[in-house]
Amino acid sequence: MSITRFFVDAFTSALEQKLATEADLLRHMTPEVLAEHLPRPLWARLLTACLGASRVDAATVVDTVGIPNLCEHLPDPLLWTCLAEIAATALGAAATVAPSARAGTADPAAAPDAPAPATTSGARRVATDMLLPPPPASAPRPGSASDGAGATDPASLFDGARQRATTRSPTRTLSGRVPAAGASTRRPQAAAPPPPATIPSGTPVGAPPRATSPSPLFSPPPRADELDFEIETDIRSDWKDRDAIPVDDEQLVDWSSSEETIGGTMLDRPKR
Protein backbone atom coordinates (compact mmCIF):
# COMPACT_ATOMS: atom_id res chain seq x y z
CA MET A 1 0.00 0.00 0.00
CA SER A 2 1.35 3.37 -0.99
CA ILE A 3 -0.55 6.27 0.40
CA THR A 4 1.73 8.65 -1.45
CA ARG A 5 0.70 7.27 -4.82
CA PHE A 6 -2.90 7.48 -3.76
CA PHE A 7 -2.47 11.13 -2.87
CA VAL A 8 -0.67 11.81 -6.14
CA ASP A 9 -3.47 10.25 -8.14
CA ALA A 10 -6.13 11.98 -6.09
CA PHE A 11 -4.67 15.45 -6.34
CA THR A 12 -3.75 15.04 -9.99
CA SER A 13 -7.24 13.86 -10.79
CA ALA A 14 -8.79 16.63 -8.76
CA LEU A 15 -6.83 19.22 -10.70
CA GLU A 16 -7.58 17.58 -14.03
CA GLN A 17 -11.28 17.31 -13.29
CA LYS A 18 -11.42 20.91 -12.12
CA LEU A 19 -12.59 19.78 -8.71
CA ALA A 20 -9.85 21.83 -7.17
CA THR A 21 -7.40 24.49 -8.13
CA GLU A 22 -3.81 24.98 -7.20
CA ALA A 23 -4.94 27.71 -4.87
CA ASP A 24 -7.04 25.16 -3.00
CA LEU A 25 -3.94 23.09 -2.48
CA LEU A 26 -1.87 26.01 -1.30
CA ARG A 27 -4.45 26.89 1.30
CA HIS A 28 -3.11 23.87 3.15
CA MET A 29 0.34 23.66 1.62
CA THR A 30 1.26 27.08 2.84
CA PRO A 31 4.69 28.59 2.33
CA GLU A 32 5.42 27.80 5.96
CA VAL A 33 4.60 24.15 5.41
CA LEU A 34 6.62 24.07 2.23
CA ALA A 35 9.55 25.70 3.93
CA GLU A 36 9.45 23.19 6.72
CA HIS A 37 9.08 20.01 4.70
CA LEU A 38 10.36 20.54 1.18
CA PRO A 39 14.02 19.71 0.67
CA ARG A 40 16.34 22.53 -0.22
CA PRO A 41 16.96 21.44 -3.83
CA LEU A 42 13.26 21.75 -4.43
CA TRP A 43 13.30 25.16 -2.83
CA ALA A 44 16.13 26.15 -5.11
CA ARG A 45 14.12 25.01 -8.08
CA LEU A 46 11.13 26.91 -6.82
CA LEU A 47 13.04 30.13 -6.24
CA THR A 48 14.63 29.88 -9.64
CA ALA A 49 11.32 29.36 -11.34
CA CYS A 50 9.70 32.16 -9.41
CA LEU A 51 12.49 34.62 -10.15
CA GLY A 52 12.32 33.76 -13.82
CA ALA A 53 8.55 33.79 -14.09
CA SER A 54 6.63 36.89 -15.02
CA ARG A 55 3.90 35.94 -12.60
CA VAL A 56 4.03 33.93 -9.43
CA ASP A 57 0.87 32.26 -8.27
CA ALA A 58 -0.27 28.98 -6.81
CA ALA A 59 -0.07 27.26 -10.17
CA THR A 60 3.54 28.32 -10.51
CA VAL A 61 4.37 26.78 -7.18
CA VAL A 62 2.48 23.55 -7.75
CA ASP A 63 3.75 23.12 -11.28
CA THR A 64 7.31 23.83 -10.26
CA VAL A 65 7.41 21.60 -7.24
CA GLY A 66 5.12 18.98 -8.70
CA ILE A 67 2.35 16.96 -7.16
CA PRO A 68 4.56 13.91 -6.59
CA ASN A 69 7.10 15.93 -4.66
CA LEU A 70 4.42 17.61 -2.62
CA CYS A 71 2.83 14.30 -1.76
CA GLU A 72 6.16 12.72 -0.99
CA HIS A 73 7.45 15.33 1.41
CA LEU A 74 4.41 16.86 3.06
CA PRO A 75 2.78 15.16 6.04
CA ASP A 76 0.03 12.72 5.25
CA PRO A 77 -2.50 14.23 7.66
CA LEU A 78 -2.08 17.57 5.98
CA LEU A 79 -2.55 16.02 2.57
CA TRP A 80 -5.60 14.18 3.79
CA THR A 81 -7.09 17.34 5.23
CA CYS A 82 -6.62 19.06 1.93
CA LEU A 83 -8.11 16.15 0.03
CA ALA A 84 -11.06 15.93 2.41
CA GLU A 85 -11.80 19.59 1.91
CA ILE A 86 -11.73 19.16 -1.83
CA ALA A 87 -14.14 16.27 -1.52
CA ALA A 88 -16.38 18.21 0.81
CA THR A 89 -16.40 21.08 -1.61
CA ALA A 90 -17.28 18.85 -4.53
CA LEU A 91 -19.95 16.97 -2.62
CA GLY A 92 -21.20 20.01 -0.80
CA ALA A 93 -21.86 21.81 -4.03
CA ALA A 94 -24.19 19.01 -5.05
CA ALA A 95 -25.68 18.69 -1.58
CA THR A 96 -26.52 22.35 -1.37
CA VAL A 97 -28.20 22.35 -4.75
CA ALA A 98 -30.39 19.34 -4.13
CA PRO A 99 -32.40 20.67 -1.15
CA SER A 100 -33.06 23.92 -2.94
CA ALA A 101 -34.36 22.06 -5.95
CA ARG A 102 -36.64 19.99 -3.72
CA ALA A 103 -37.89 22.95 -1.75
CA GLY A 104 -38.75 24.94 -4.82
CA THR A 105 -39.18 28.67 -4.50
CA ALA A 106 -40.13 28.43 -0.86
CA ASP A 107 -36.51 28.08 0.05
CA PRO A 108 -35.02 31.56 0.33
CA ALA A 109 -31.61 30.13 -0.44
CA ALA A 110 -32.97 29.13 -3.84
CA ALA A 111 -33.77 32.68 -4.77
CA PRO A 112 -32.00 33.64 -7.94
CA ASP A 113 -30.66 36.82 -6.46
CA ALA A 114 -29.39 35.08 -3.36
CA PRO A 115 -25.63 34.88 -3.24
CA ALA A 116 -24.29 31.47 -3.88
CA PRO A 117 -22.86 30.07 -0.67
CA ALA A 118 -19.24 29.19 -0.56
CA THR A 119 -18.99 25.59 -1.45
CA THR A 120 -16.78 24.74 1.45
CA SER A 121 -18.95 26.44 4.03
CA GLY A 122 -22.03 25.01 2.37
CA ALA A 123 -20.69 21.54 2.70
CA ARG A 124 -19.90 22.12 6.31
CA ARG A 125 -23.34 23.55 6.88
CA VAL A 126 -24.99 20.52 5.33
CA ALA A 127 -22.85 18.22 7.37
CA THR A 128 -23.56 20.04 10.59
CA ASP A 129 -27.27 20.25 9.85
CA MET A 130 -27.38 16.52 9.50
CA LEU A 131 -25.53 16.04 12.75
CA LEU A 132 -27.47 18.56 14.76
CA PRO A 133 -30.11 17.28 17.15
CA PRO A 134 -33.73 18.10 16.38
CA PRO A 135 -34.98 21.44 17.59
CA PRO A 136 -36.32 21.58 21.11
CA ALA A 137 -39.95 20.66 21.62
CA SER A 138 -40.77 24.10 22.97
CA ALA A 139 -39.78 25.72 19.71
CA PRO A 140 -42.72 26.35 17.39
CA ARG A 141 -42.59 24.05 14.44
CA PRO A 142 -43.56 25.14 11.00
CA GLY A 143 -46.98 23.92 10.05
CA SER A 144 -48.29 23.82 13.58
CA ALA A 145 -50.46 26.88 12.99
CA SER A 146 -53.36 24.62 12.06
CA ASP A 147 -53.91 23.69 15.68
CA GLY A 148 -55.09 27.16 16.47
CA ALA A 149 -52.03 28.11 18.41
CA GLY A 150 -49.96 29.52 15.66
CA ALA A 151 -48.78 32.42 17.70
CA THR A 152 -45.42 32.12 19.27
CA ASP A 153 -46.61 33.56 22.54
CA PRO A 154 -46.31 30.81 25.15
CA ALA A 155 -49.41 32.05 26.92
CA SER A 156 -51.50 31.77 23.79
CA LEU A 157 -50.08 28.34 23.17
CA PHE A 158 -51.17 27.32 26.62
CA ASP A 159 -54.66 28.73 26.06
CA GLY A 160 -54.97 26.75 22.88
CA ALA A 161 -53.89 23.61 24.63
CA ARG A 162 -56.41 24.18 27.37
CA GLN A 163 -59.21 24.68 24.85
CA ARG A 164 -58.28 21.45 23.18
CA ALA A 165 -58.30 19.77 26.53
CA THR A 166 -61.88 20.79 27.18
CA THR A 167 -63.02 19.26 23.93
CA ARG A 168 -61.22 16.02 24.43
CA SER A 169 -62.04 14.90 27.87
CA PRO A 170 -63.53 16.63 30.86
CA THR A 171 -61.30 14.65 33.13
CA ARG A 172 -58.13 16.40 32.07
CA THR A 173 -56.46 18.45 34.66
CA LEU A 174 -54.77 21.76 34.39
CA SER A 175 -51.43 20.20 33.89
CA GLY A 176 -52.82 18.14 31.06
CA ARG A 177 -52.50 14.91 32.90
CA VAL A 178 -55.09 12.23 32.47
CA PRO A 179 -56.09 10.69 35.77
CA ALA A 180 -55.02 7.18 36.38
CA ALA A 181 -57.24 4.29 35.48
CA GLY A 182 -60.13 4.01 37.82
CA ALA A 183 -59.87 7.55 39.01
CA SER A 184 -62.73 8.63 36.77
CA THR A 185 -65.05 6.18 38.51
CA ARG A 186 -64.45 7.65 41.86
CA ARG A 187 -67.39 9.12 43.60
CA PRO A 188 -67.53 12.88 43.53
CA GLN A 189 -67.74 12.88 47.29
CA ALA A 190 -64.52 11.01 47.51
CA ALA A 191 -62.77 13.22 45.05
CA ALA A 192 -59.82 14.89 46.61
CA PRO A 193 -59.81 18.64 46.61
CA PRO A 194 -58.12 19.96 43.52
CA PRO A 195 -54.47 20.74 43.90
CA PRO A 196 -53.55 24.37 44.12
CA ALA A 197 -53.50 25.79 40.67
CA THR A 198 -50.04 26.45 39.43
CA ILE A 199 -49.04 29.10 37.03
CA PRO A 200 -47.68 27.53 33.87
CA SER A 201 -44.06 28.05 33.24
CA GLY A 202 -44.78 29.78 29.97
CA THR A 203 -46.74 32.56 31.59
CA PRO A 204 -44.89 35.82 31.20
CA VAL A 205 -43.84 37.66 34.27
CA GLY A 206 -46.35 40.27 35.25
CA ALA A 207 -49.25 38.61 33.55
CA PRO A 208 -52.34 38.08 35.68
CA PRO A 209 -52.40 34.62 37.12
CA ARG A 210 -54.62 32.45 35.06
CA ALA A 211 -55.40 30.15 37.93
CA THR A 212 -57.66 32.76 39.47
CA SER A 213 -59.94 32.87 36.47
CA PRO A 214 -62.97 30.62 36.73
CA SER A 215 -62.54 27.46 34.80
CA PRO A 216 -65.16 24.77 34.23
CA LEU A 217 -62.51 22.19 34.74
CA PHE A 218 -61.44 23.20 38.17
CA SER A 219 -64.49 24.40 39.95
CA PRO A 220 -64.58 23.14 43.52
CA PRO A 221 -66.47 19.90 44.02
CA PRO A 222 -70.17 20.36 44.92
CA ARG A 223 -71.27 19.62 48.36
CA ALA A 224 -73.30 16.52 49.03
CA ASP A 225 -76.51 18.42 49.65
CA GLU A 226 -76.14 20.24 46.34
CA LEU A 227 -76.17 17.10 44.26
CA ASP A 228 -79.16 16.91 41.97
CA PHE A 229 -78.65 13.39 40.74
CA GLU A 230 -78.89 9.98 42.28
CA ILE A 231 -75.67 8.31 43.01
CA GLU A 232 -76.01 4.65 42.28
CA THR A 233 -72.81 3.71 43.90
CA ASP A 234 -73.73 5.28 47.15
CA ILE A 235 -74.86 2.26 49.10
CA ARG A 236 -76.47 3.28 52.27
CA SER A 237 -77.92 1.32 55.11
CA ASP A 238 -81.52 2.30 54.59
CA TRP A 239 -82.08 -0.74 52.37
CA LYS A 240 -82.01 -2.87 55.41
CA ASP A 241 -85.14 -1.27 56.71
CA ARG A 242 -87.19 -2.03 53.60
CA ASP A 243 -89.65 -4.92 53.46
CA ALA A 244 -88.70 -8.12 51.66
CA ILE A 245 -89.84 -8.37 48.08
CA PRO A 246 -92.06 -11.38 47.49
CA VAL A 247 -90.73 -13.85 44.93
CA ASP A 248 -92.61 -16.69 43.32
CA ASP A 249 -91.06 -20.12 42.84
CA GLU A 250 -91.46 -19.81 39.09
CA GLN A 251 -89.10 -16.94 39.08
CA LEU A 252 -86.38 -19.05 40.55
CA VAL A 253 -83.98 -20.98 38.37
CA ASP A 254 -83.30 -24.62 39.07
CA TRP A 255 -79.56 -24.66 38.64
CA SER A 256 -79.26 -28.28 39.68
CA SER A 257 -80.90 -29.42 36.40
CA SER A 258 -78.04 -28.05 34.38
CA GLU A 259 -75.43 -30.58 33.27
CA GLU A 260 -72.60 -28.18 33.74
CA THR A 261 -73.38 -27.31 37.25
CA ILE A 262 -72.24 -29.17 40.23
CA GLY A 263 -74.81 -31.32 41.83
CA GLY A 264 -75.88 -30.83 45.32
CA THR A 265 -74.50 -34.20 46.30
CA MET A 266 -71.02 -33.09 45.48
CA LEU A 267 -71.45 -30.08 47.59
CA ASP A 268 -72.70 -32.21 50.42
CA ARG A 269 -69.42 -34.11 50.61
CA PRO A 270 -67.56 -33.52 53.80
CA LYS A 271 -64.38 -31.63 53.34
CA ARG A 272 -61.24 -33.58 53.77
Partner: protein
Protein backbone atom coordinates in the same frame (compact mmCIF):
# COMPACT_ATOMS: atom_id res chain seq x y z
CA UNK B 1 28.63 46.86 3.44
CA UNK B 2 25.81 45.21 1.58
CA UNK B 3 23.35 47.81 2.70
CA UNK B 4 25.68 50.62 1.80
CA UNK B 5 26.46 49.14 -1.59
CA UNK B 6 22.75 48.86 -2.34
CA UNK B 7 22.07 52.33 -1.04
CA UNK B 8 24.80 53.92 -3.11
CA UNK B 9 24.00 51.76 -6.10
CA UNK B 10 27.38 50.13 -6.19
CA UNK B 11 25.47 47.04 -7.05
CA UNK B 12 21.83 46.30 -7.59
CA UNK B 13 19.67 43.67 -5.99
CA UNK B 14 19.94 41.65 -9.16
CA UNK B 15 23.72 41.72 -8.83
CA UNK B 16 23.44 40.43 -5.32
CA UNK B 17 21.13 37.60 -6.35
CA UNK B 18 23.46 36.75 -9.19
CA UNK B 19 25.80 35.53 -6.50
CA UNK B 20 23.34 34.62 -3.84
CA UNK B 21 21.60 32.35 -6.25
CA UNK B 22 18.34 30.59 -5.49
CA UNK B 23 20.36 27.51 -4.80
CA UNK B 24 22.43 29.38 -2.24
CA UNK B 25 19.42 30.98 -0.69
CA UNK B 26 17.53 27.73 -0.54
CA UNK B 27 20.41 26.01 1.15
CA UNK B 28 21.23 28.66 3.72
CA UNK B 29 18.15 30.65 4.52
CA UNK B 30 16.07 29.43 7.43
CA UNK B 31 12.62 28.07 6.69
CA UNK B 32 10.78 31.06 8.05
CA UNK B 33 12.62 33.37 5.68
CA UNK B 34 11.98 31.08 2.76
CA UNK B 35 8.30 31.00 3.56
CA UNK B 36 8.24 34.77 3.84
CA UNK B 37 9.89 35.14 0.46
CA UNK B 38 7.39 32.83 -1.16
CA UNK B 39 4.44 34.32 0.64
CA UNK B 40 5.33 37.86 -0.31
CA UNK B 41 5.86 36.82 -3.90
CA UNK B 42 2.53 35.03 -4.02
CA UNK B 43 0.83 38.04 -2.52
CA UNK B 44 2.43 40.40 -5.00
CA UNK B 45 2.08 38.05 -7.93
CA UNK B 46 5.74 38.17 -8.85
CA UNK B 47 9.13 37.47 -7.38
CA UNK B 48 11.74 40.05 -8.15
CA UNK B 49 15.19 40.60 -6.65
CA UNK B 50 13.99 43.80 -5.07
CA UNK B 51 11.13 41.97 -3.39
CA UNK B 52 13.43 39.23 -2.24
CA UNK B 53 15.71 41.77 -0.64
CA UNK B 54 12.77 43.46 1.00
CA UNK B 55 12.15 40.22 2.83
CA UNK B 56 15.69 38.96 3.12
CA UNK B 57 17.29 42.18 4.18
CA UNK B 58 21.03 42.70 3.85
CA UNK B 59 21.28 42.09 7.56
CA UNK B 60 19.54 38.75 7.22
CA UNK B 61 21.57 38.00 4.13
CA UNK B 62 24.83 38.61 5.92
CA UNK B 63 23.61 36.52 8.80
CA UNK B 64 22.78 33.41 6.82
CA UNK B 65 24.54 33.51 3.46
CA UNK B 66 28.21 32.57 3.43
CA UNK B 67 30.43 35.60 3.55
CA UNK B 68 32.48 34.37 0.61
CA UNK B 69 29.46 34.63 -1.58
CA UNK B 70 28.66 38.11 -0.35
CA UNK B 71 32.22 39.24 -0.74
CA UNK B 72 32.32 37.93 -4.28
CA UNK B 73 29.33 40.11 -5.01
CA UNK B 74 31.04 43.15 -3.53
CA UNK B 75 34.30 42.42 -5.33
CA UNK B 76 32.54 41.99 -8.65
CA UNK B 77 30.81 45.30 -8.16
CA UNK B 78 34.12 46.96 -7.35
CA UNK B 79 35.66 45.48 -10.45
CA UNK B 80 32.82 46.82 -12.53
CA UNK B 81 33.36 50.21 -11.01
CA UNK B 82 37.07 50.08 -11.89
CA UNK B 83 38.38 50.52 -8.40
CA UNK B 84 40.41 47.35 -8.53
CA UNK B 85 42.79 48.42 -11.32
CA UNK B 86 45.10 50.47 -9.10
CA UNK B 87 47.26 47.51 -8.24
CA UNK B 88 49.38 47.74 -11.36
CA UNK B 89 52.99 48.05 -10.57
Amino acid sequence: MLESGLEHKIFAPSDLLAHATPDVLANHLPPDLLSKVLASSLAAGAMTPERVLETVTPMEMSRHVPHEVLWACIAAAAARAGVTTSGKA
